[in-house]
Symmetry: C2
Subunit: 113 residues, 2 copies
DNA sequence: TAAGTACATACAAATATTCGCATATAACAA
DNA sequence: TTGTTATATGCGAATATTTGTATGTACTTA
C-alpha cells in the first residue's frame, strides 16, 4: 500500500518546521489565540498564520473563532505524546554519543575552568 | 530553548518522504541489504542510496558493511513505535471524518452496486 | 592485474517550501 | 458608513529538496 507511506510522510512533513513545533509546544496546556501566540513566540503574525495554515491542512490543529479572535488547539492529544517520544528517541541517541566520547577520553565532561 | 524545536523539526523532516517511510517499513523485521531493498521497493539503487543517506545523517538508520554488501537497520526500535503512533493518529482522524459523513447521510457506506 | 558487483556521491535541472510584503476578510466600534 | 483590530491569503524572490545522470570507491573474482 504505497498510499499509506504517502500519508505518513505528509503527516511528518507537517511537523518538520521549527516554528510549527514551537506552536505545538505552546499549545500543550490548551488553546491559545493567534495574537498571544505571536507575542509569546516573538514572530510576525503573518508568518505565524502561514504556519498555522500548514498545521490546519494536516488536521494537527483546529481553530475556534470567537469574536474577532481565533483560538487554536491541538486536535489530538496523542500528538503531544508523539512529540515527546520523538525527543526521547534523539535524546537517547545523544546519550549514546556522550557515552562514546566518555569511553574515548574519560573525565572530559564540561569545559568549565 | 529554540534549539530543541530545531532538532525536533529536523528529526521529523527526515521522516517526511514516502520512500524513506517505505524503507523503514521494510526494515521492521530486521536488517536488509541495499540490493534486496531496491528490489523489494522497486526503486533505482541510486535513489535508494540517496534516501538512505538522509536517514543515516539523522541517525535513524545504521549501515553495517559485510563484504561488498551494506546491511541497514533501524537504530532505535522506538522509531517503529513512533511510526505506528503517527498512523494511529491520522487514522483516528479519518475515522472522525467517516463518522461525520455517517451523521450527515446515514447508511451511505460503500458505493458498491 | 583487469573486470565485475554493490553501494555512494557530485552535480545540475526540476520542483517544493519558506519568507516578506501587500492585500483581503470579518468582527467590532464610533 | 468609516475606521480599527485580528487573522488569513496571494504573490514573487530566496532557499531547500528531489530526481536523473554520471562517476567514484571498495570489495571480490578471474
Amino acid at each position: 500500500m504505497p498510499e499509506l507511506s504517502q500519508f505518513t510522510a505528509e503527516f511528518f512533513k507537517a511537523l518538520s518546521h521549527p516554528l510549527r513545533i514551537r506552536v505545538l509546544d505552546a499549545l500543550r496546556q490548551g488553546e491559545v489565540g493567534v495574537n498571544e501566540l505571536s507575542l509569546r513566540l516573538q514572530v510576525e503574525q503573518t508568518t505565524l498564520s502561514q504556519q498555522l495554515a500548514v498545521l490546519r491542512k494536516s488536521n494537527i490543529v483546529v481553530g475556534r473563532k470567537e469574536g474577532q479572535n481565533v483560538y487554536y488547539s491541538i486536535r489530538d492529544p496523542e500528538i503531544i505524546h508523539l512529540l515527546d517520544n520523538a525527543r526521547r528517541i534523539f535524546n537517547n541517541h545523544l546519550i549514546d554519543i556522550r557515552d562514546l566520547l566518555e569511553q574515548l577520553s574519560p573525565g572530559v565532561e564540561k569545559s568549565s575552568p
